[in-house]
Amino acid sequence: MTDIDDTTDRLTKGVNGAGLDARLVVERGSFRLDVPLTAAPGDVVALLGPNGAGKTTALRALAGLVPLAGGHLRLDGAALERTPPDSRPVGVVFQDYLLFPHLSALDNVAFGPRCQGATKAQARAEAAAWLDRMGLTEQAGAKPRRLSGGQAQRVALARALATHPRLLLLDEPLAALDARTRLEVRAQLRRHLAEFEAVAVLVTHDPLDAMVLADRLVVIEDGQVVQEGSPSDIARHPRTDYIARLVGLNLYRGQAAGHAVRLDAGPSITTTEDLSGPAFVAFPPSAVTLYRDRPTGSSARNLWRCRIAGLEIHGDQIRADLTGELPLAADVTTVAAADLDLQAGAAVWATVKATQTHAYPA
């Protein structure tokens, strides 16, 4: 399904050449990054993955800060593989912003236009307009160390946009912010990215950032793309343990036969979908019910004997990490946890209703 969409996407891009069409191959020692990446103008693509997966390397390759060992990189039809970073129409917002500490916010933003040949007055006028758009007129004369985290982030964004890039790269754009500013800045960034008419690629390890900011997610693990699709699709149909954990689902792989999926690990799970062949089964931790004694009256088809490996507070819930027949995560309320006298090492019965599981072909 998505494959066909991608192919048509690529074909239309081949016709008018607009947007990003890349296959990034970077080799560094034993690590090999090989990531195909395409996007149409106006797209916001998030590269999501665990630390060390190669996301930032991919971003640096797009910017030209890391040479490609293979593949190709075309932006609006122009081949950029051999173009040095200062000649690429690419803007970068670095993780810690890297605002030049000796220049005011205004001169930081004016730096790009200056390098592109604008006079000092033109560059400053352009920079002032960008700062105005970001709501930073009052901070124009401030040195970066006087800016708050959110302000610095917006200056960095203005600085990158002031060069009129055809590809905007954002490396962990919200990682340097504390939780409260993060919320606010995320919303602003979403607005600015929506206004941006060219391709934006952002790198993050935070699934929430990725899902809020991007139209499409590319999940990278160990230098390879493991899944690609819309945020909602990926959240509903994770294909690796990493993504399942990110989106808070229990995920299992097995062989489906009718309404049962026999897991590679052992037990089988009853589902409502009717499938055959390799399949994934996913269900949220909140779908799991725990009992101290084997439930008798329960209608749940899926019943496993487990042991509690660990407990942690998760919002107003307690998340139990279970091992045993089927390793899984279960959410229970604090009251239920107290009633059940849950503690590490305790034996429990876990049930999941078939209606709360979701199976899809692997």
Partner: protein, 284 residues
């Protein structure tokens, strides 16, 4: 609420304990460290005190207003400043190459750069003569093609001083460059700056304090230069006789004049130190 208060009290108690411990540590300075330490301090300070004690304070005004002293002082300041300029123009790029580029034999090149630092200056002077002297490896051609002679000229003084002082600047600037985040240069490049523009507009301002410190070190070293200067440039009053040479010469004929000249150099050094301290305090 009470929990927070308790933990606050606990940290207070901790801080108090820390303070007490520190006081105790100060009281218990071990003698094997204290005695040599104080001796070292005395060793460094006493000669300067002697200089002040034995200074001919009455005759000082006449000593210092003599034409030779002024000549030597002027020449010293001029040549040291010129040598520092040479060090800056050539040394900062060299420091950048050492800090920011990779090339085979870089470690060896760095060792070569630091060699004049440990080389006896007289040997440096001899080496300069062999390279740039009238019959030297390069000097021969300089003389034949351009009619330029360096030894025993004021330019020769500058060359000798720059030779000895450059490593101070290069090492200092290279250290600052290594400590500076190279990603600022990357950020500049993504904004369309060439590598040189990135260096000029971003790196240079960022490492300016380090360059200033290196320049002052180089200047002070050049000002006190003796061995290489006398070997390569000789000792001609008004042309190549800098303050240190004048001091040495005066010590043989007129010790009081030598002390007076030394006092001037001491005053200049203290002024440099004081100026530097202010600068470093404001930039850091």
């Amino acid at each position: 609420m009470s929990k927070v208060d308790q933990s606050g009290a606990a940290t207070d108690a901790l801080v108090g304990g820390e303070r007490r411990r520190r006081v105790r540590a100060r009281r218990g300075v071990p003698l094997p460290l204290l005695v040599p330490g104080v001796l070292a301090l005395a060793f460094l300070v006493l000669p300067l005190v002697a200089l002040l004690v034995r200074a001919p304070w009455h005759g000082l005004p006449e000593q210092l207003t003599s034409a030779e002293v002024w000549q030597a002082l002027q020449l010293s300041l001029l040549s040291a400043t010129a040598a520092t300029a040479v060090c800056l123009v050539l040394g900062v790029p060299l420091a950048w190459l050492l800090a920011r580029t990779r090339f085979p034999g870089r470690g060896f090149v760095r060792a070569l750069v630091t060699l004049p630092l440990v080389l006896p200056p007289v040997v440096g002077g001899v080496a300069l003569l062999l390279a740039l002297g009238r019959n030297g490896v390069i000097g021969k051609w300089l003389d034949a093609w351009f009619g330029i002679t360096l030894p025993f000229t004021t330019t020769g003084v500058v060359v000798a001083e720059a030779f000895v002082a450059m490593p101070f600047l290069v090492i200092s600037v290279e250290g600052t460059l290594r400590a500076a985040d190279p990603r600022f240069e990357e950020a500049a490049t993504t904004l369309g700056a060439s590598r040189f523009t990135a260096f000029r507009r971003v790196t240079l301002p960022l490492i300016a304090p380090g360059i200033a410190a290196g320049a002052v070190l180089a200047w002070a070293r050049a000002l006190g230069e003796f061995g290489a200067t006398i070997t390569f440039a000789g000792n001609f009053p008004g042309r190549t006789q800098t303050m240190p040479l004048a001091v040495y010469l005066a010590l043989q004929n007129d010790p009081e004049a030598a002390i007076a000249l030394s006092l001037v150099l001491l005053a200049v050094s203290i002024a440099v130190l004081a100026g530097l301290r202010d600068r470093w305090l404001t930039t850091s």
